[in-house]
Symmetry: C2
Subunit: 327 residues, 2 copies
């Protein structure tokens, strides 16, 4: 079970390796949102997303013998880079199983971080079978992207920082909006806030059509998404909340918030113009919820996690061309 | 005279008002530059540039009676926003004299920050005469953009942070590249480093054709630029080094570095792809020098100040379209 003790242990293992990201703000963003907005800029984390926290936490928690044999992850995106970067730091072998049609840049980045990338054909090959065979053959440890105790603990360190930084900013009562896929970040942050800033409450934000967590929270049981593709917020599209994460979300989180793809892109434009940070669509949904769901949020202030910035120039510039400064 | 005592006094007045910006890095940037690169992300400062430091320092140093009468500045850009933001915080009137053909967005931003914007026609009107008349009539204090003791002290606080953050990162010997216009940032940072991190040396970076500071340092006397327009790095184009700043630069700085407009744009693309920050061309010249003048730099590490991010979407996307991830 992930708990505050495990989150603080992960934070101690990360010291000097994981960046304490800043809590940004702008009077222009406040004016748009109708209240004070504090933005935890996890896009500035190593590898461009909070996933570096979970990767570091998982690798650093492994017994040295297991770590020396290596790790394996399935990911076409941010989790791959988080695991690869941590493995490189520990000089541990890392195998990342990625679909052959993943963006070239993400494949190249993962390789440049020192991981062995194994490509498979989504149409004809079974990812899990390929991974299981490799893991058995080489004694690799599988690092799941969210349903993994030490990964949730690692993401929770972001919540420890928010608890401290919100207090420094004079905010003790607020919703903390997270960009939510499988719920690893949301669960970890919710646990950290429960222990260290009980006036702050985590709430998941998701793209429309892929709001499995919001619906699961409303229904009181795990609900699946009808589809697994078709959102530009690819980084946070998962089939359903995790079996480890959902009970934590259910106990601690407020209602989910849902935004459109266009609203996520408009939030990217606002972040460009007003905060000078680069967000990917999936990393902008929490800010989009703060900006465009003001009537679903209470209080004078809201905190949102800008969870990642791994976006290509074409998508980014489409957001700027369509939405200007987002006003 | 600006000295370390004045810089530390400015830092004390800023506490809680000016952001301690992060020192970012990426293995991809290191690989491109051929050495370790640490990037001081001043684009994340309030108002999107380091100019918020000088504005705050100058306003907070004024006698309360003078501050209550108000301040005036000539600027079409970052200095205007820095002064306006500080004046608003102190509830002091601020008048910003801007050319009528300044970008609409910059005029609007300055107004939204609470300043009174007075527009003049560059072709037919005399900016200084307009400003002097307003200042005399209302008792306003002029805040110059760089040749101003308390402004230099304010920019120097960026150097205090670099001294601490470089030590935390294990770097004690390195060049610190600054984006240099009139030399306020460079002079302030050089003074702070002299006192607090003597192994770090400031070096100005400038756009080709507007390298008055590099030529002045080489010649040992103030040299002017032949032209005052024609660079996309408009934020750091000034006629010549300041009379207060140049003696400081001459005593403390290493040789200047000069980059092309294209290299500045390529550095913007690298900062987008690898650091997830938004830089304007003038704010990217120091990073460009770190990336593309490696043979003019010595040592295992280099620090560069990414001084501002106030760029419009069209210019930014031109950089991404032309240079991709900058590799």
């Amino acid at each position: 079970m992930t708990d505050i003790t495990r989150i603080e242990a992960a934070a101690a293992r990360m010291a000097g390796h994981i960046r304490r990201t800043p809590l940004l703000s702008s009077p222009f963003v406040d004016a748009l949102a109708g209240r004070r907005v504090l933005v935890k800029a996890e896009c500035l984390q190593h590898t461009g997303s909070f996933k570096a926290r979970g990767g570091w936490s998982a690798l650093s928690a492994l017994p040295p013998e297991a770590r020396a044999r290596g790790v394996i992850a399935y990911s076409s995106g941010n989790h791959a880079q988080g695991v690869a970067a941590a493995a490189r730091a520990f000089e541990a072998p890392a195998v990342i199983v990625m679909p052959a049609d993943a963006p070239r840049l993400k494949i190249d980045n993962t390789r440049t971080l020192g991981a062995e990338v194994v490509l498979y054909d989504r149409a004809t090959e079974d990812r899990d079978a390929i991974g299981a065979a490799l893991a058995a053959e080489r004694g690799l440890t599988l690092i799941r992207p969210y349903d993994e105790v030490e990964v949730i603990a690692g993401q929770g360190t972001c919540g420890l920082e928010i608890a401290e930084q919100a207090l420094e900013a004079g905010v003790t009562q607020a919703d903390v909006l997270t960009c939510c896929g499988g719920g690893g970040l949301t669960a970890g942050v919710a646990l950290a806030l429960e222990a260290r800033a009980p006036g702050l409450r985590a709430r998941p934000a998701e793209p429309a059509g892929f709001d499995d967590t919001a619906r699961s929270l409303a229904a009181g049981s795990i609900q699946r998404n009808a589809s697994l593709s078709g959102s530009i917020c690819d980084a946070i599209v998962t089939p359903e909340p995790g079996t480890l994460t959902f009970p934590i979300l259910q106990r601690l989180c407020g209602p989910g918030l849902v935004v459109s793809d266009d609203e996520a892109m408009r939030a990217m434009a606002v972040a460009f113009a007003r905060l000078k940070i680069v967000l990917e669509p999936g990393g902008a949904v929490a800010l989009a919820a703060a900006l465009f769901r003001r009537e679903e949020i209470e209080g004078d202030a809201v905190i949102c996690i800008a969870s990642g910035g791994n976006v290509d120039g074409a998508m980014f510039c489409e957001a700027l061309a369509r939405f200007g400064t987002g006003d």
